[in-house]
């Protein structure tokens, strides 16, 4: 997999949020790269910072957030220092985002096809006939009959609207798509349809993707590589095979043990006692220490960096055991 060039390289991304008057660190020294044609997963439980990472990389943090350090190199330029005008050209055209609530962000009083066509004309520089042609192509791509492009959003179900949003996201042939919780709140069957669509787009168009989701099973299914986040940091990164079958970080190990399977023996699933630190608390050492069975003093004094477990497989743990067998 190392042969593929990277299209996005993030180094030491650090961001913070303001609560009241004080700024609290939210993301700590995140470094990762997205390779051409891969689906990269950002996974973790709520509050771990995965959605924040995406908005930070796109330099789209809300008003009370700010980037403190780091770079996000895309096509030779640092997204975090680009002026807004340049960023606008990249948003949608080169990097597109699909959000969880996006299926509700279609204009209810305009036909769906014309909303996509508008993007193509305004940002893609197409004329009307070209845009219409492309809309038909896109609808076929997402598996909806092209003549339905003349319908209004309320005539589509939730799953179909999400697919339309995906079409809108890829209509300008971006190099990278960021899908943030785009399957949550959908039925499992519709989820599967969306997953199929994303996989197909990745395989046929070579679309690179960042897939953000709290459902680790979904991430394991669809992604090539994954980074698991905890308290604003990466705790493990590698191929999904490595991370989920041979987890090296205690948190990830326990998390995987909490996930139900459809096959195999039915022992009681094990939960992880305690809860993650809040935004206002930034422990000096490893953030997982209070809940970790293996921890010791070394873990309390220094935040473990991402250490190699195996080629391409990293875990932020001083105690990581390299390439041990999965514990199912």
């Amino acid at each position: 997999m190392n042969a593929q060039p990277s299209i996005l390289a993030v180094n030491d991304l650090t961001a913070e949020f303001r609560l009241g008057e004080i700024y609290y660190p939210a993301l700590h020294d995140l470094s990762f790269e997205i390779r051409q044609g891969e689906i990269f997963g950002l996974a973790g439980e709520s509050g771990c910072g995965k959605s924040t990472t995406a908005t930070a990389v796109m330099n789209m943090l809300p008003e009370n957030g700010r980037i403190k350090a780091g770079q996000a190199m895309f096509e030779g330029r640092n997204l975090l220092t680009l002026p807004e005008k340049e960023l606008r050209r990249i948003w949608w055209g080169k990097i597109a985002m699909i959000f969880q609530g996006s299926l509700n962000s279609l204009n209810p009083v305009r036909r769906v096809g014309s909303q996509i066509a508008e993007v193509l004309v305004l940002k893609g520089g197409m004329n009307k006939p070209q845009a219409r042609e492309k809309v038909n192509e896109l609808f076929t791509l997402i598996g909806i009959r092209p003549d339905r492009s003349r319908d209004y959003p309320h005539e589509f179900s939730g799953g179909m609207r999400q697919r339309v949003m995906i079409a809108m996201a890829v209509c300008l042939d971006p190099g990278l798509v960021i899908a943030d919780e785009c399957t949550t709140a959908l039925d499992v069957m519709i989820q599967a349809q969306i997953v199929n669509l994303l996989k197909r787009l990745n395989q046929t168009l070579g679309l690179s993707m960042i897939f953000i989701n709290h459902d680790l099973a979904l991430v394991a299914e669809i992604c090539h590589r994954v980074a698991i986040m905890y308290a604003g940091r990466f705790v493990e990164m590698g191929s999904v095979g490595d991370v989920f079958a041979r987890p090296a970080h205690p948190y990830v190990r326990q998390l995987v043990q909490a996930l139900p399977l459809m096959e195999g023996p039915v022992n009681r699933l094990k939960s992880i006692p305690g809860s993650p630190p809040r935004l206002q608390e930034t422990p000096r050492g490893c953030p997982f220490l209070p809940r970790c069975i293996d921890g010791d003093d070394a873990c309390a004094n220094q935040v473990p960096p991402m250490l190699p477990v195996h080629p391409g497989h990293y875990a932020a743990c001083f105690k990581n055991k390299d390439a041990h067998e999965g514990n199912r």
Partner: protein
């Protein structure tokens, strides 16, 4: 043969769309639940699984006796919930309790935890002294793992975490010591590790206090760990019921088969699955014959015209024309 605690017979819930001052007839009805039969045995956990529009939530509310639109029979021990008079309905409330999906919204943000957990006592046991009330609330909180309970009595919902809120709600449901607990998607709003925590808690409590549980969920993988039997619903109909591990290992109904294939688990890699095309029709516009026929990968001619009869095939109830070797009974399989 275990005792049957709940016996639902030919129950339907049709919501009339209110159009103007004069109500229209059956044509506009939303058939949320359409003629279902099932039983629940004492001490078991029955998982009611389905996607949106399946009617599973409506079934839960109907069994609780909360829906005026419910018709048919719902027998709870020796009482028909749907035909009970006011006094009996009130008595039933102490025997059946519900746990809701969104623990934050299920609590009045202005009330303390003590008030929230003691609300059932305030309604049904008005003669209890404040000290007894406090004692019962503390005992319930301790049972759900909120220790020391006294610390939590004066707190407010917004001060608790998601997992803690759900625990409080469970405590509130158990304070009257019900025989039946209906859990409506109790963990779908929680993170993966919290889901496990709460589900393990429910299992533990069920063993300790010996209540029966109807767990309404859309998460098929979890049912394997918590449910004795599983019932699959689709568009208001019960398609398949049976022992959980059996149904999940050897599903008979094509819908069940598709659902299982599509559930993501962390040990499986993606294959372009046999994903069902199309979407679930709206409950006001149900297909003729077998509800599932427009999307069924194994549809045959009869499916379009005739609603399949429930059939019993080794401890399993299935409603599908494809299932042969049927003992053509209405229902009534035993659970050994």
């Amino acid at each position: 043969m275990k005792a049957s605690l709940v016996d639902v017979r030919n129950m339907s819930v049709w919501f009339q769309a209110r159009t103007g001052i004069v109500r229209r007839g059956k044509n506009n009805a939303v058939r949320a639940v359409d003629g279902i039969d099932f039983e629940m045995f004492s001490g078991e956990t029955l998982a009611l699984v389905g996607e949106s529009g399946s009617g599973k939530t409506t079934v839960g509310r109907a069994v609780m006796g909360l829906l005026r639109e419910a018709v048919g029979e719902i027998w709870f021990k020796d009482l028909n919930v749907l035909a009970a008079d006011r006094e009996n309905r009130l008595r039933l409330r102490t025997k059946m309790q519900m746990i809701f999906q969104d623990p934050f919204d299920a609590m009045n943000p202005r009330e303390t935890i003590f008030k929230i957990v003691s609300e059932p006592l305030a309604i049904h046991c008005r003669n209890l002294s404040p000290a007894s009330q406090r004692e019962r609330v503390c005992r319930a909180l301790a049972d759900v793992g909120m220790t020391p309970p006294e610390d939590f009595l004066g707190r407010f919902p917004h001060e608790l975490s998601g997992g803690q809120r759900q625990r409080v709600l469970i405590a509130g449901a158990l304070v009257l010591e019900p025989d039946l607990v209906i859990a409506d998607e109790p963990v779908s709003m929680l993170d993966a590790s919290l889901k496990v925590e709460i589900l393990n808690l429910l299992v533990k409590l069920q063993k300790k206090r010996n209540f029966t549980q109807l767990m309404i969920t859309h998460d098929l993988a979890l049912t394997r760990y918590v449910a004795d039997r599983i019932a699959i619903m689709y568009l208001g109909k019960l398609l398949e019921i049976g022992p959980t591990r059996d149904v999940l290992a050897r599903p008979y109904h094509p819908y069940t088969q598709s659902l299982i294939k599509v559930v993501p688990t962390v040990d499986k890699a993606w294959e372009e699955k046999a994903v069902l095309s199309g979407e679930i029709p709206h409950p006001s516009n149900v297909p003729s014959g077998c509800r599932f026929h427009p999307r069924c990968p194994r549809v045959i001619e009869i499916c379009r015209n005739r609603i399949p009869e429930p059939m019993i095939v080794d401890q399993r109830m299935v409603q599908c024309h494809l299932v042969k070797n049927a003992d053509n009974k209405r229902k009534g399989f035993t659970n050994e």
